[in-house]
Assembly symmetry: C4
Homo-oligomer: 285 residues x 4
């Protein structure tokens, strides 16, 4: 049986560093978030708020044009591009991290975007695949953007069942590691398997488990927000395993703080709390 | 004369349970809210905020396309579907609760939606009928979606006059119970008759009265918000009478707390207060 | 020389009454606000927020369709109607108070709206004329809706110059009273002449002066907000002079409280503060 | 070597005066902000919030029509004009200050706007050139609106490299002063060269350095916000060097206060803090 390492609060101190004085926004990474169909615009907004409040330097959002105004009414900090705009393909190579999936849907345009990503992404970029992006790849493995330097999958258990072929009740650590290895092949790959105790699997066989979090977070958008936070952390702190663990832990920690006096935890509340929480851990350095 | 049972604070402790650790958003119900014409988009937004802040697991909103952006600018947690989209009919069967009426209007599209609901709704679903949905059924009783497992009517007194044929001054408990029985026939049905002291009538002859609340709540949108809260509670706590009583009581309790230092109680303030209030009662368990 | 009566804090206690328990939103008046052209949508939003936070029972807003979404993103409590919609004419007679002018502009549509108002308004309604509505009437006195039961003009000094023909330096109390009398003819009419010490002139020769307020309020939208508050107060407290005085005083009082620790007073802050302030004075009864 | 004068807190007391009682919005200046293409609407919103919260009396925003609703949902105080509207050219001469550049982009419309500005601007107006406006002028020096009474350039180091031809590593005070002199010719001109320690160069050879600020401000939109604050200050306090220094210092000071307990400083937070900060310094007079 595979050992599980419990993610602890220490990871926050380790990853979240005080920023150096002589830096500019370019030092904190460029992130592109792709998602938000006609029906699921809120998902890409919530992912964007995760990335923004996690501290990404520059944020661009590719989404259905119907979602522009709600995005900017909430988050003027994000740049916008219509996901049908041909210029999107030339934007991709300028990014450090790409998060694809929140509210993406499974329509033709979503597929076209994955095909474009597969073609344009490069080995010095990290790709976070979430939600419907995972479902599309489940249906057609050829859509996986294998050229990415680092692939991070953030499915919940049912999405992982569809992607890995492993039914939920058989999703053991060993089975998950094997499936991840098979899926990612020659890539650096990490699986963030969301559940009430999210597990993080590295391609090299290590398994981490997040034992904090709470059932008030059982609401639509929590996962979208996590994908955004992971992206925002990688933009700043680099695509190493600790970064991902810190993002997962911080997301739950924020949720737990909110849950102390709220029956439910709205995903946008989690994002709003991040800057204060991160400061606390940065100051511990 | 029918006995009236006063709804008390105890109902909140009884209904609002601490969430169990091993749960996910699917455990807290799927709710669809239908409403929001060109003129009354705010009503469906306020109903949505009621359901969201009451803790429903997954929320979809079917509304006129003109209302999408304001909805998402406020509530990215809600999924959206154009109420003219043919896919709406296939969404209905996936839901646990449907709230139809806030800002619906009485136009042709509103009627088409009721016809669709009547056809698609099933005995394992609860339907909350509010505002213009009630008016449309008043005009044509054939529009009543009789196949719903549980019907909840949430009219104010004038809407109930139109639906039941009982003029306001003759809306006695006995008359209301008889009319509800006649209206609902073979359905489980509950009447939430909104007034300064809202009465809840169960089909089996019990009458509950809510003696809290305040005249600062006498403003447009209070009723829409209540319909959303009832829906959100049923999504989580099931379609039993206690759930409805708790929703009615909590809505007024929140209003009373706000009224302590506000001359008027904005419906959106009520919704914002729910997560903290619910936590308090859940912690009493 | 005409005596000036200083408006004092007492007017708030006198006008703002605790609401009675057995009331509903219909008891707090129906108000229609008309304004917001393509360029000045913010003005009608700010007027709406004044009326809403002052406690009007039901609020409808007729504006250019371009302004719908921003209005609802901020204020879902307000109903909306496209100002080009023919149904607007039939909405007018259902209202207790109409505020026309904030952001109205002076285009053809604005004129058409005044012509419609002139035709539809009735002696049991109050009409508040503000901003561009005043300018349009300055250009063509025939546009004045003389059938209104009560006319309230809320110009700043330059708008009053254009309407009355009295240049700012000659706007003495006596001159203003004479001009108001001439203008209003057989109507109840009040002039709220906005300046750093706003004067209120009743048709019967009484002059009130508001000696509070501050230069932090010297920003775009303050006047629109006042027009909305006046409308909201009349909806609730009736079209008598005290109501208008209370609205003028409260608007400045809120501004003074904000100014204590803000260099500038944003109009939307004034509106947000009203419910708490009004509660304080209602509790003094 | 050129002496650098450190900007100190004293500049805030000197510039930010308590407003006089007998003033109106016209006393606090009229500002027009031009920017916000299809992709960068958030930038012009953030600049607007800078100008608004800095206390400009009247604010107009010329932007792509796609950005109207998000602007008004956040900032109803701002007037709007479609940047393709021919009336914009006649609006320009009515302004005290024009800020051109935030989110402007470098498309054909952006160029047309600069050409229009060049033609319409007059010697009694101040023009703040930011972001893409600087890039466009870098490509074609003929686009510089030389008739402006005061020109303020607010590039970051890379934009200044493109405009001045001086590579970042050679951007010494002396080189920058020479380039500014060459660029501005017969104009009053100021260079606000944004970096982690922003330098302000007056055409007359004085160099000021801002030693406060923090790396939490290294995020998209910080510069747009600064451009708006500079514009808002000039609108109120006049186009003299102290005004610019105070704006630069206040922007960083607000950022430092937020950074005390936030890991990152969102530009919109800076703007929100301005009214309280300004009041504090005005009260010191």
């Amino acid at each position: 049986m595979t050992d599980e390492i419990t993610i602890s609060e220490d990871i926050l101190k380790k990853v979240i560093k005080l920023r150096k004085s002589n830096t500019h926004k370019g030092n904190y990474g460029r992130i592109l978030l792709i998602g938000g169909s006609e029906n699921y615009g809120g998902a890409i907004i919530m992912a964007t708020e995760g990335a923004l409040n996690a501290g990404a330097g520059l944020i661009a959002v590719a989404t259905h044009s119907i979602n522009l105004t709600a995005l900017h009414a909430r988050d003027p900090e994000a740049m916008y591009i219509d996901w049908k705009d041909n210029k999107l393909a030339s934007l991709v190579p300028q990014m450090d991290v790409i998060v694809c999936g929140p509210g993406l849907g499974t329509g033709d345009q979503a597929k076209r975007l994955l095909v474009m990503l597969k073609e344009k992404i490069t080995p010095d970029q990290t790709l976070v695949l979430d939600a419907s992006a995972i479902d599309l790849i489940s249906e057609d493995k050829n859509l996986l953007p294998v050229k990415a330097g680092h692939l991070i999958f953030t499915p919940h258990q049912m999405e992982w069942q569809r992607l890995s072929g492993i039914r939920i009740e058989f999703q053991t650590d060993q089975a998950n590691l094997t499936a991840l290895h098979h899926l990612a092949q020659n890539n650096n790959a990490t699986l963030v398997l969301k559940s009430n105790h999210t597990h993080v699997y590295s391609e090299y066989g290590t398994v981490y488990v997040n034992r904090i979090g709470n059932p008030g977070m059982a609401t639509g958008g929590t996962g979208d927000t996590l994908a955004g936070i992971i992206g925002g952390f990688i933009a700043q702190f680099g695509p190493n395993p600790d970064t991902i663990l810190a993002a997962v832990y911080l997301h739950s920690l924020a949720g737990d703080l909110i849950y102390q006096d709220h029956y439910l935890v709205k995903p946008t509340q989690i994002s709003s709390l991040l800057p204060k929480l991160m400061k606390k851990y940065a100051d511990l350095n």
